[in-house]
């Protein structure tokens, strides 16, 4: 008997009487002031939020910021003229090691925890938002939902090879509970909220 069959047999034999899956539809957030809440929470956890009307505004704001950075990469076509464009999956993600500043797009943001949801189809290369020194994410203010319940409703049964919630810059407090930003992922996170 294979380990698989042994494990499944033991589990079947030992699992308790069937208990139904609870309904979770009653768990809902409050739709008031979601944008203000998002800004507040993301700022508290070390991120930065910049409100902008359009991508053209973001482009304008970035022009100044990007002067301070070496290799700058984006997946957003409208920024392709001011940054290096990455719009297909790179054969070797190791070549992204020296990216200083990256700008990507997200479909969704969550007010209660300051997270943005990004998927592989918009990242092209999975490691991009982790390996860059500084990360900026563009998301529409209309796509800010109150809680994780609404976030997963929106994600629904969409398919992705990889997807991730990113909430603020990479951090650790493993040394005596002292919070340090910039553990292994991006040292800073800026979210451009498009109205």
């Amino acid at each position: 008997m294979s380990s698989r069959d042994k494990i499944l047999a033991a589990v079947s034999q030992n699992q308790p009487v069937y208990s139904p899956v609870p309904d979770i539809s009653f768990l809902q957030g409050d739709n008031d002031n979601t944008v203000a809440k998002f800004v507040d929470i993301l700022t508290t956890i070390g991120g930065k939020v910049i409100l902008a009307e359009t991508i053209a505004d973001v482009r304008f704001l970035l022009l100044e910021e990007l002067k301070n950075h070496s290799r700058k990469v984006t997946t957003v076509p409208l920024l392709g003229d001011i940054m290096e464009m990455v719009n297909k999956s790179l054969h070797d993600p190791h070549t992204m090691e020296n990216i200083d500043y990256a700008v990507i797009e997200a479909d969704l943001a969550v007010a209660e925890n300051g997270a943005v949801w990004v998927t592989e189809d918009k990242l092209f290369t999975r490691v991009l938002p982790f390996i860059c020194q500084h990360l900026a994410v563009i998301v529409k203010a209309d796509n800010v939902v109150p809680t994780m319940h609404e976030a997963y409703q929106k994600i629904g049964d969409s398919t992705y090879g990889f997807g991730t919630f990113i909430a603020g810059p990479s951090k650790t407090a493993d040394i005596e509970q002292s919070l340090v930003l910039g553990a292994h992922g991006a040292r800073s996170l800026t979210v451009f909220l498009l109205s």
Binding site: S3, L8, K171, I175
Partner: protein
């Protein structure tokens, strides 16, 4: 590492440095308070806990189906699924996967399961170099220690000790114990590791039966840096990590970090569904005693655990005895109910390392009846004859005295006399009871004697 010492003996070692105990106690209580602040901001926290508990009840009652559903979906996604009945089989699967590819170096993110299985030791004995990439885990790895806490692996270490370790192993200047500087050093050191390792192993926080994807949560980004740069990603998970549907993640991700550290969510909650083009993704489903625990009616709820560590942060015994006193990969109250399932004799002492105050059960995000299970384990352990000898002998003596009315009266009188005339005879370090508790003040008469005099008044 801890030899044959039990929890009390190991706690005694930790308690030698009183200042450190106070510091450890206060640090963890600070984290418990951060948890309270975060939790109190959520209006329906109790409903959320109850829902999570019910989802987990469903998981445990339908686990064999969910495991098969998960296997089918993950396989369809191009992930290779392996099954391991025990720790040895798990470790062998990992070793074989590495050997097939001629890989001798691996980077690993936090996985308590691999601690439970002693994977690192097994791989190192077989010529594989393993580097733990979570900062806290890297620190305990350099110190050749076990993690003392499941979420905060080096919470027992002072920054000066960490500075010393980094000086010795990573060449930082002697005497530099600045957390910012040390973290930056680890970032540089580990970045090189991430870029050069062809294999990455991660743990799994949640696995979704409905979709075959699994979720890994980190603050540092180390799991992602490892997995997205490697040719082969191995994810090890206990079979109890399954949840039914993707939407249920909303419940657990809301609970996990608020309970753990008071954060609203980890920096990264990564959902792995398919391997990168041309790369391999493997999942190892590990039983290692979980199916047995599932069959223990009184203890199966321990399998609902989502490894947040809240029970440790709140535990008055854990905070004052340190994680290493539990001599098991998972310390604290939850470890004390998981460990005896694996080896009742070796871990017979752990369910006694508790005041049964119930604080652990109150903070548990999935409502595990932790303190009740500790109490029940004590009974099982004594009945099966695994109780520590001193406890066994004294309990037999007590049973003998309590079983006979004349022995009880004589013993009571003798004890009262001794404690009044010569309190030092019992209040000394040779009395193990006194070591853990203050002796009560002794009444002049027993209740029986008092009643005899007073009943006619």
């Amino acid at each position: 590492m801890t030899g044959n010492k039990d929890h009390a003996a190991l706690a005694e070692v930790f308690n030698k440095d009183e200042d450190r105990v106070d510091w450890h106690d206060e640090t963890l209580w600070f984290i418990r308070k951060k948890r309270d602040l975060a939790v109190n901001k959520i209006d329906n926290w109790e409903e959320l806990r109850e829902t999570a508990s019910q989802i987990k009840n469903n998981v445990l009652s339908n686990l064999s189906n969910y495991l098969q559903e998960f296997e089918a979906k993950a396989s369809a996604n191009g992930v290779i699924v392996h099954w391991a009945a025990d720790a040895a089989e798990h470790n062998q699967i990992v070793l074989d996967l590495l050997k097939q590819q001629g890989i001798t170096q691996m980077v690993k993110s936090k996985s308590m399961l691999t601690e439970e299985c002693h994977l690192n030791e097994h791989l190192e004995a077989n010529g594989i170099d393993v580097i733990d990439s979570d900062l806290g885990e890297r620190i305990v790895q350099l110190a050749k220690e076990m993690p003392s806490h499941i979420v905060l692996p080096c919470i027992h270490k002072k920054k000066e000790e960490i500075g010393e370790l980094f000086h010795e192993h990573l060449g930082t200047p002697a005497g530099n114990a600045d957390p910012q500087f040390l973290t930056e050093t680890a970032r540089q050191h580990l970045r090189d590791v991430f870029l050069t390792r062809r294999a990455a192993l991660t743990g799994v926080n949640f696995a979704i039966a409905e979709t075959g994807e699994f979720v890994v949560c980190t603050n540092e980004g180390n799991a992602d840096m490892g997995a997205h740069l490697a040719d082969i990603h191995i994810a090890s998970m206990g079979i109890e990590k399954i949840i039914p549907e993707r939407k249920h993640l909303s419940v657990f991700l809301r609970l996990l970090t608020r309970s753990a550290t008071g954060q609203p969510i980890t920096t990264y909650s990564s959902h792995f569904s398919k391997p990168r083009k041309g790369k391999e993704m493997h999942i190892i489903l590990v039983d290692n005693g979980r199916s047995i625990q599932l069959g223990r009616e009184d203890f199966r709820n321990s399998l609902k655990c989502i490894r947040c560590g809240a029970c440790m942060n709140t535990c008055p015994v854990y905070r004052r005895s340190g994680g290493h006193s539990y001599h098991y990969a998972i310390s604290g109250p939850i470890g004390a109910i998981l460990a005896p399932n694996l080896d009742m004799e070796k871990y017979a002492d752990l369910p006694f390392a508790s005041t049964l105050c119930g604080s652990c059960s109150n903070v548990c995000p999935v409502k595990i009846d932790i303190h009740d299970q500790l109490y029940k384990w004590r009974q099982v352990i004594v009945q099966k004859g695994y109780a520590p000898t001193a406890k066994k002998v004294s309990m037999q003596a007590i049973a003998n005295v309590l079983g006979s009315s004349w022995k009880y009266h004589v013993a009571g009188k003798a004890a009262r006399t001794v404690m009044q005339l010569a309190p030092f005879a019992v209040n000394n370090k040779f009395n193990p009871w006194y070591k853990h508790r203050d002796m009560p003040e002794v009444p002049e008469k027993s209740f029986g004697e008092w009643y005899k005099i007073n009943r006619n008044k």
